[in-house]
């Protein structure tokens, strides 16, 4: 399971970075979201995958029977932040498209020198 997750995370990173290197804004945004999902899976697998164990501790039972709740909460926070940022990037891309009629980063216009 960990091997599978590691491969998935690696593929997501590679695809995300590849898309971020493209010139179209839509691809850049998809790349960003793949990248943040990749890092979420990485946190999950790096902190140890456990099978069907609850994170809430009952007194008297050994700690090995429970999952670590921290990675989940980290991922949850990262998902929320990533969602907000993604929404902002989409709006920005939409405005670029409205004002230039294109989503190619090179046609937005030359930088003022």
């Amino acid at each position: 399971m960990e091997l599978l997750l590691a491969v998935v995370a690696g593929v997501l990173y590679a695809a995300g970075l590849y898309l971020m290197l493209r010139r179209r804004l839509a691809q850049l945004i998809i790349g960003l979201s793949l990248l943040s999902n990749g890092s979420n899976i990485l946190i999950l697998s790096a902190a140890g995958v456990t099978r069907a164990k609850p994170p809430l501790i009952t007194e008297g039972l050994p700690l090995e029977q429970f999952a670590d709740p921290v990675p989940q909460s980290l991922i949850l926070t990262a998902i929320v932040i990533g969602f907000g940022v993604l929404a902002f990037a989409l709006v920005l891309a939409h405005r670029v498209h409205q004002s230039t009629g294109s989503d190619d980063i090179d046609t937005i216009g030359p930088d003022r020198a």
Partner: protein
């Protein structure tokens, strides 16, 4: 409680600003009052840290490795003080007039959000919380940057957003890997457990990930291209806020995380950082000399001088680190002042293109002389604060036998003098170009637009006059940074069980 105030006050101010009737005079007054309050708390935090040592607040009374900790040592306290000073100057400069469209879109509360994020990043003692504060200040600055929709600004905003989000993804990756191995996120707990683990391969990978993430935010050599591409488009006050604070948050985070987690001065990451800092200095200044726009010249100078602030970490000696901290403080002050000065040109001529500037010395000699102080301070002309800070960085290099590095730093200083002298000559000294109308030339600059500049220039002069006491404080701050055990003990107490795993 005192430690939470630099975060809570801007948050409250931002909320109040949203609830108030949207009359610009009222909004400006409230934002300014909020910033003054933060300045007051920052001063009292600094005084307390000076007297009693490291201050710690366990948020929600959760004991240290489990809850989120807010920490202020001398370095944090100095940075918080500087943030509040720049906050006062930036909110004060809004009295000179803000574009009404921006004001309607929440300009004032966004500035407070950025100030809150920066203060949070400087105070937190938890590495994941550091990531969260980074995102808070990034979102605030994203919106501030893209409130307008001219093409140049949209393009700049996209470059800025894309690269900073990439940096955040790298930071999150590093934090995830670190948690997977160490099982804790508290910086003090990590500092105690992590360096003893002796996993050189993972250490190298993690330190490079942190270096990349913070390097993008700070604007180090191969990663700085977003900065000059974006900082010259927003209005002057926003430029002053972002240029003064955001790159320094990257530098601060780098110094904090590396001194705690990678305390081995022989690690290869420090050699990489040394080389990158030197290249950053040289390339930044060469870039500055090639530019023909006031704010672009400033942006490249900002990049170049970031090298001075990271080199102290790379050299890993108390003297060099103290010099770098002094340099950070001086640079925050001066670069914000200069971006506010660029607001004068925007007000008078509607441009910062050097070809269209000139003649300001003839019409307003006092203003031209005022601008001379931060320009020459950035260049490091004695006896101004830049000179003191440069001495603080370069002397340890000579003492440590790094003659080549010292030569590079001195050459870069010379290039800065050249760049600054040219900037002043082009913007103030040379006769005005024929095209500019006489009315634009002779319109007086009102007091509100000059007051924040006078305030910051006064502080630069104060930093010059009190250079001795200030550098004593920065040396003590560097000593605290390198003495990890005091930090760990202040947060975790003497006898604390190890983290769960």
């Amino acid at each position: 409680m005192l430690l939470a105030l630099p975060i809570l006050l801007p948050l409250l101010t931002a909320i109040v600003l949203h609830l108030l009737p949207q009359r610009s005079r009222l909004l400006r007054l409230v934002a300014f009052a909020g910033s003054l309050l933060v300045l007051g708390t920052a001063a009292s935090i600094f005084a307390r840290v000076q007297q009693t040592g490291i201050l710690v607040l366990q948020v929600g009374s959760w004991p240290a490795p489990f809850g989120i900790t807010l920490v202020a040592d001398l370095f944090s306290a100095l940075m918080i003080a500087m943030v509040s000073v720049i906050g006062v100057a930036v909110t004060g400069s809004s009295f000179a007039g803000v574009d009404p469209r921006r004001e309607a879109l929440g300009y004032h509360s966004l500035i407070q959000v950025v100030l809150m994020g920066v203060a949070g990043a400087f105070l937190t003692g938890d590495i994941f919380n550091l990531y969260v504060w980074f995102e808070v200040l990034l979102i605030g600055s994203f919106v501030l940057m893209s409130l307008h929709r001219t093409r140049a600004q949209l393009r700049a905003a996209f470059t800025y957003v894309g690269l900073n989000l990439l940096a955040s993804a790298f930071l999150l990756t590093a934090i995830g890997l670190l948690y997977g191995q160490a099982g804790t996120l508290n910086l003090a707990d990590l500092a105690r457990a992590w360096p003893e683990r002796r996993t050189p391969g993972l250490d190298a990978a993690l330190s490079m990930l942190f270096l990349t993430a913070f390097g993008i935010k700070a604007g180090l050599f191969p990663l700085f291209f977003w900065l000059p591409a974006s900082y010259h488009t927003p209005p002057a006050a926003v430029g002053a806020l972002l240029a003064g604070l955001l790159t320094k948050v990257g530098v601060y985070a780098m110094i904090r995380v590396f001194t705690l987690l990678f305390p081995d001065p022989g690690a290869s990451v420090y050699r990489v950082l040394l080389v990158l800092s030197a290249i950053t200095m040289v390339l930044g200044l060469i870039g500055a000399l090639a530019q023909r726009d006031f704010r672009r010249v400033l942006s490249f100078n900002l990049v170049g001088h970031i090298g001075f602030t990271t080199i102290g970490l790379a050299l890993w000696s108390p003297a060099a680190l103290g010099g770098s901290i002094l340099y950070v403080l001086h640079h925050m002050l001066v670069i914000s002042t200069l971006f506010l000065v660029s607001g004068l040109f925007l007000r008078q001529r509607r441009t910062t293109d050097l070809n269209a500037l000139g003649g300001l010395y003839r019409s307003q000699p006092a203003v031209a002389c005022l601008a001379l102080i931060p320009l020459f301070s950035l260049a490091g002309v004695p006896p101004l604060s830049g000179f003191v800070a440069k001495v603080g960085v370069i002397t340890p290099m000579l003492g440590g036998g790094q003659y080549l590095l010292a030569a590079v730093a001195l050459c870069v200083s010379l290039l800065t003098v050249l760049s600054m002298a040219r900037l002043w000559e082009e913007a103030f000294w040379k006769p005005a170009p024929v095209a500019s109308s006489a009315s634009a030339l002779h319109s007086r600059l009102a007091l509100p637009i000059l007051a924040p500049i006078v305030f910051l220039v006064g502080l630069t002069l104060a930093l010059t006059v009190f250079a001795g006491p200030v550098s004593t404080v920065t040396m003590r701050a560097a000593g605290q940074l390198l003495d990890r055990n005091t930090y760990i003990r202040a947060i975790l107490g003497e006898e604390v069980p190890r983290a769960a795993r």
